[in-house]
Symmetry: C2
Subunit: 288 residues, 2 copies
């Protein structure tokens, strides 16, 4: 297991962690000031300042992208909706490629309409079928341009609206069905927030192995979580044994960045970027 205590060379900042800090150019500046070597930006943040401008900034600061957030959201009520999702995922692959991201993270989607609060279906089986077909189609294109796809199983509390893939086991079953010979083209993003509770976590991480472990995200689960989406904790402030999970991931062969992704409208998004980054760096060294 790598020693993170001496520096933060393996720290990546998911730019959603700095949603309170303004536009992506300002977030990138802040990261550069703190000697951050890698980021993982969100598409809406990239689009807001432009893909070309983002690429310039990334090159200018010699940043790596530990991932690009996000593709997915495949299920739809009809063929036109599914087609639109595929088109959008193709664009996401192209953007990830232009930014030389390590992978495109897939939040696969679930019941159509649910994210907007108006689910048009209750059929999880149909959603999972759309997800399987959508990933298979997107993989064909992503493989042709050399952009790995990382399925991110989300916590089961997002099963209705954000992702009908909710465990690493389920994600790996999907990978095995779509991409039977692991080549690094399709794998999983392991976010401790989503999977820490899983009794099969250690075994499924081992099963994933180097070829399927494409990203590792950290934050913490607060014992008194006040909001289902935007109350994630800073590493060390919650109950997740992050070093134990990192040890499993690294034992399975993962050697990439540890990416901090904290959705926290109730706390961290209210704080200055410098304070957030200083804390991320300190906790990366002591609690990851």
């Amino acid at each position: 297991m790598r020693d993170f205590s001496a520096d933060h060379r393996w720290l990546s900042i998911n730019t959603a962690t700095l949603r309170g800090a303004g536009t992506l150019d300002r977030i990138i500046d802040a990261c550069a000031r703190h000697g951050i070597r890698a980021i993982s930006p969100w598409r809406d943040q990239v689009h807001a300042i432009g893909l070309e401008r983002t690429a310039e900034l990334v090159r200018g600061h010699m940043l790596e992208l530990s991932g690009y957030c996000r593709g997915g959201m495949f299920p739809a009520m009809d063929a036109a909706g599914r087609r639109a999702a595929l088109d959008d995922n193709r664009r996401a692959v192209d953007e990830a490629k232009q930014l030389e991201a390590a992978c495109l993270v897939l939040v696969v989607g679930s019941l159509p309409g649910a994210l907007a609060g108006a689910p048009q279906s209750k059929d999880l089986f149909a959603a999972r079928r759309d997800v399987r077909d959508g990933i298979a189609a997107t993989l064909e294109y992503a493989r042709s341009v050399g952009m790995p796809l990382a399925i991110e199983p989300l916590h089961p509390m997002y099963a209705a609206d954000r992702a009908c893939v909710n465990t690493i086991e389920q994600a790996l079953d999907l990978c095995d069905a779509i991409d039977p010979e692991p080549s690094g083209a399709l794998g999983v993003a392991v976010d401790v927030y989503h999977v820490w509770w899983d009794p099969k976590l250690e075994a499924q991480i081992a099963r994933a192995g180097r070829e399927r472990l494409l990203a590792f995200h950290v934050c913490d689960w607060l014992a008194k979580t006040r909001d289902l989406l935007e109350d994630r904790g800073m590493m060390g402030d919650g109950v997740i044994e992050i070093p134990k999970i990192r040890a499993w991931v690294e034992a399975a062969g993962f050697a990439g960045y540890s990416e901090v992704e904290i959705f926290s409208s109730l706390d961290w998004w209210k704080r200055p970027a410098d304070e957030v980054l200083t804390t991320c760096i300190e906790r990366h060294r002591t609690a990851v």
Copy 2:
């Protein structure tokens, strides 16, 4: 699959659904007025009016108990804490027996202190060990008095504070370890709210079979859930395909009550008991 559309003979009311309606005697009166044949009361509600008084009321109204809520909360930081939990579970078994409940439901507990917002440990493995040992010890006593124990896997969003058993598969693995020959003495309580998202749900319900399926709880998952604990929906108002899950449970041999358990400080607890019960009955017939 039984036809529920004509009457509500298989409807049970978990009395937590009527937390807004006052003391248990009033709740029981309301249930009786609506021709409810079964309830599942909580210990705090029983203790508030007394066990003897509860037993009288239950007998007087010829009510059955589809379960008794709840035992469990086994993990503790030291031997004295674990001993206290076992003593309390023994008392819960005795109370369930006096009320002739179909089973004692176990919410097994997780990280000591987390429920009070101050976790004293992050060790899920230790919590699961305490749970296994606690159930084994309690089963010995419960078996001797003939009170079945139903492990309730809780939704993974309660993994820190309420239960470190979060899937039916995990609960059944525990059952198999503690009680290798299924006899009906140890099994699971399947609550659709906790398990609806699980990709292995159908298979694990089939695996459970008649001997391990001791209780079936219903409510609904609201697409826009506002609170992690107290924003459960009325059957039909959310996204869970309840009839599909009931079909699986019945195909596996379950023939007991369908127990409505709705924690809803944001909505149903604010409404009059008669409105809640009328709605439960209607939805039992149309959405379960």
